[in-house]
């Protein structure tokens, strides 16, 4: 079977994109889920502060999302740009 070198490069880039986003999705999933669960338990303890606690949860989740965004950017770069 003849494989062109350029095809192999493209194949590697696509594999890298998949690995980047695939593994990269693990962390934000776990971290944001934990934050959400803790927010619920915190609201259970103190329901009057639900607004503050929800806002804090969203801020914390946004920070946790950041590395997932890095993975998404690298994956898109690997698919479309390089």
């Amino acid at each position: 079977m003849e494989i062109a070198g350029a095809d192999l490069v493209r194949a590697a880039a696509l594999l890298g994109a998949g690995v980047a986003m695939g593994f990269g999705a693990i962390g934000p999933g776990v971290g944001e889920g934990y934050a959400a669960g803790q927010a619920c338990s915190a609201i259970g303890r103190n329901p009057r502060e639900a607004g503050l606690l929800t806002r804090t949860m969203l801020v914390g989740q946004a920070v946790s999302e950041s590395t997932g965004i890095y993975s998404l950017v690298v994956a898109l770069l690997l698919i479309f740009v390089v």
Binding site: R10, A12, I26, V30
Partner: protein, 323 residues
Amino acid sequence: MINGIELLVDGASYLGAGLCIGFGAIGAAVGEGYAAGRANQAASRLPERSGEIIKNMLIGQAVAESAGIFALVIAMLLMFMSFPEGAMSAVSLIAAGLCMGLGAIGSGIGSGFPAGAACEGMARQPSVMGQLTTNMLIGSAVCQTPAIFAMVVSFMLMFIQFGDRAVNPNVAAIMGAGLSTGLAAIGSGLGGGMAAGGSCQAIARQPLAFSRVTTTMLVGQAVSQTPAIFGLLISFVLMFKIFPPSAGIITATALLSAGLCMGLGGIGPGLGNGLAAVDAVIWVGRNEEAAGSLTRTMLVGQAVSQSTAIYAMVVSLVLIFVI
């Protein structure tokens, strides 16, 4: 069979970049999410000071993020820099990506522990917010060391010229070098982070024990970092020893196995040393007079839990030098 084999290096660099950010994104995100969760618990206990608690959460999360940033930087360099041709170069780029990616996991998760514990401590003891932030930063900084080791090895793998070595065993040695530091850094990062989290907890309970607790934390973290240092050592041996050309797969497999052995072998002891340190640190805070006895027991216990990392290093060295 493959036309244009010289483009192999490009493909390898893209795969390496994907592995790097893919793995590297895990740790920081988990650690930051953990910190956010604990911060929210703290805010629910003490809503009036939630502003300061959230500020502390963001600072702690920023330190946890740094491991992810290292991985992003290495991934970008891998994607956009040009590297010399050849099979050695290709494998070294994949190894560099794996090394940084795996190495960022432990430090990212580990730095989340002190951030979370500091936020909880602030709700418990608002008067020592400054001390808690200080201790959080000291502990997190030490916790980032394995990620820095991984970044150093990654840079070496990317920029050292391996091209003039015999492909047959040296290609496996390079891959082993990347795996050795990358995997061993996972346990050390987690362990160091746990110890740091314990210290923030202890200070919130007993602010006057600040200096004893910090000392115990630093001692415990130092021992926790040792598996990462063993991994770094094996990586250096694998990168800097030029292996003579060999026929067949025995030597190559032995070198790859040496890297895997030290890398995987560092995970458990690093974590275990952290488990020993966290309770020692918490109880030094609760019972300062017993600090000497606690530190001694922690060190003895850590020495025993370190033993399998030493076995792994011995086996690695046997695989490198005897086979």
